[in-house]
């Protein structure tokens, strides 16, 4: 048991190093991007929305639309992989948009707050129907 004081010191230093470096690392971490609301703009009857990706999620990830007016969603070039399979369960929307020219259109018929997501649910956001 000659090693005891050496290991106590080692444990102390492990604790100190982990606490200090952990504090530095976690305090400087940038949060995941939150949302910029109200990205929709009305163009006559059709409400056009363009979604891109930022921090591995749809951006913006809160969108506002008006009820009973058609909505056209464009997934721009930054949207890749499985995020191009776009779903809004509450409105029966489930569509793969292979490129930005393939628009996703639907008409929200009920008011409220709903989720949109990629087909695997890994990227998602909120659609507010007013």
């Amino acid at each position: 048991m000659k090693n005891k004081s050496g290991n106590t010191k080692a444990l102390f230093w492990i604790f100190v190093i982990l606490i200090i470096s952990g504090w530095f690392v976690f305090s400087s971490a940038d949060g995941r991007a939150k949302n910029i609301p109200d990205s929709s703009r009305s163009l006559g009857e059709l409400q056009k929305i363009t979604l891109s990706t930022q921090n591995y999620n749809y951006y913006p990830n809160i969108i506002k639309v008006k009820s009973n007016q058609p909505v056209e969603i464009t997934l721009d070039e930054s949207v890749r992989g499985c995020l191009r399979a776009f779903t809004i369960k509450d409105f029966g929307v489930s569509q793969v948009s292979s490129n930005p020219s393939e628009k996703i259109t639907f008409t929200p018929t009920k008011k409220g707050t709903f989720k949109f997501a990629c087909s695997m649910g890994m990227a998602y956001g909120t659609i507010i129907v007013e």
């Binding site: 982990l18 690392v25 890994m122």
Partner: protein, 228 residues
Amino acid sequence: MAWKEFKNELNGNRVEGELIKTFLYSIIISLLSFFTFYFVVDGNGLYEFLGKYGQSIFLTAISYGLIVCSIRQVRAYKEMPCMSGMMVGMTTGMIAGFLPGFYVATNNGMFIGSVFGMFIGIGVGIWNGKCSGIMGIMEGIMAGFMGGLMGAMTAFMLINDHLLASSIIVLIISAVILIGLNFMIYNEMKETKRQRYEDHFLTIIVTFILMMITMWLIVVGPRGGLFT
């Protein structure tokens, strides 16, 4: 009572008494390699660098610290019975594949994460598993292959769902498993004399190489479509 003996042996003169220092040296080398890498490769702004990649690199450093401890303990005994060796190969292969795969996939996507995780997992699995011959080696290969894929896949699927919390949870669970492995090896081998005496050179080299490769991948390595 075996656990109590193991706890006492952590302050003893067998290889178990060197594990805490091994972990400490590994963490120090990880920190040094982090700053070396930052000043050589990036150097744009420490705060920004830490914010972007710091969490993954920090958690990876702790993972490597735990993994090199098990490598040191297994190397000290050199040979083990088949059952123990298979357990060693499987556990180290799985954890050494899972954790790096997880943290690399967090920044680089599933392909790079899983390939890297499999590479590290299979490598460590073979290295440790060979203490019991071909059975341990096979077990190490299979576990490394599975762990690498699983780690990357888990990280990728959690990207928008409490990724940081998951990273910490998987690290804690892996730490418990690896400490359990240290205990199991002690329990199985406590009647056996140590076969190999080494200084900490291997710990330093292995940690440095693993950290450098991991940091290079995370910071400037290739990325999947979602991460470009």
